[in-house]
Amino acid sequence: MVGTEWYVALSGILFAIGMAGVLVRRTAVLMFLSVELMLNAANLALVAFARAWGDLTAHTAVFIVMTLAAAEVAIGLAIIVTIFRKRASTNVDDLAELRG
């Protein structure tokens, strides 16, 4: 059986890759994809700890995180589509100001 620490290390690597993606990518959609990576890294750590302690609480937490991710994606992509209709761009550098 693979120890918990290896799962946590993999989760750290995944989180770091996601963080780099948020910083590097210039398109709003791709930044969302990177945020999904970070959420999944957290989920992996939660599930690993759930196995170590034999506690189902973390499973419900992961379930709720998945629901939150779905809601976030629905709202975020709707906002991106609305902005794209108005500005014809999803580059985050062009969308830096809040004014309409």
Binding site: M1, V2, G3, E5, W6, Y7, A9, L10, S11, G12, I13, L14, F15, A16, I17, M19, A20, G21, L23, V24, R26, T27, V29, L30, F32, S34, E36, L37, N40, L44, V47, A48, F49, A50, R51, A52, W53, G54, D55, L56, T57, H59, T60, V62, F63, M66, L68, A69, A70, A71, V73, A74, I75, A78, I80, T82, R85, K86, D93, G100
Partner: protein, 201 residues
């Protein structure tokens, strides 16, 4: 689960994540994320979380990624943004920061005395079956469960309100002119007109 299988699945996960972050084409990035998500579902199976593995494939790799691909193709955003990044050295800083973060978390995880799996842990988990997870969700965590369901409802209504085209009113149009609204006026109408008025008009 043997260590070899762990290493192979970890390779799939990390490769998919790197493709997500580095691919020039947005469709390739989304497909890289699908590989990562399916790899994670396999990991969940190895961690006795069978319900979560199924949910991961259905909700994440299925529904959410279809939404992503749909929007990428709808906005024709598959080509990379070629404009120069306005922040100097952001790629180098991001790579360095990610490297440091991954190394430090990895070192902490591997040197820290990780909790040994309890002898009774597997029995407590009940294989992460839907029945066990559902019982925890609906006894100990009823309030978060209900809150999340309200949140989902708000998200659905909100996204529909955000992307729907306002119906141009017949009364305001000049006599004898076809009722059409240009894209630019559409945005202005969205910002200025309250939702209730638009619905009534």
């Amino acid at each position: 689960m043997s260590a070899l299988a762990f290493v192979l699945i970890a390779l799939v996960i990390v490769t998919g994540a790197l493709v997500t972050v580095l691919a020039a084409n947005a469709v390739h990035a989304a497909l890289g994320l699908v590989a990562t998500l399916i790899g994670l579902a396999m990991m969940y199976t190895s961690l006795n979380a069978h319900f979560l593995a199924a949910t991961q494939v259905i909700v994440y790799a299925g529904a959410i990624m279809v939404l992503f691909l749909f929007v990428i193709m709808l906005l024709d955003a598959s080509q990379p943004v070629t404009a120069q990044n306005k922040i100097p050295f952001v790629n180098e800083i991001a790579a360095l920061g990610a490297g440091l973060l991954a190394t430090s978390i990895g070192l902490i995880a591997l040197t820290w005395k990780a909790p040994r799996a309890l002898a009774t842990a597997t029995a407590h988990l009940q294989d992460g079956s839907p029945a066990a997870v559902g019982e925890t969700l609906l006894t100990k965590f009823v309030f978060p469960f209900e809150a999340v369901s309200v949140l989902l409802l708000v998200a659905i209504v909100g996204s529909v309100v955000l992307v729907r085209k306002p119906v141009p009113s017949v009364e305001e149009a000049p006599e004898g002119q076809a009722v059409t609204t240009g894209e630019r006026e559409l945005g202005a109408a969205l910002l200025s007109t309250p939702v209730v008025e638009r619905r009534n008009s």
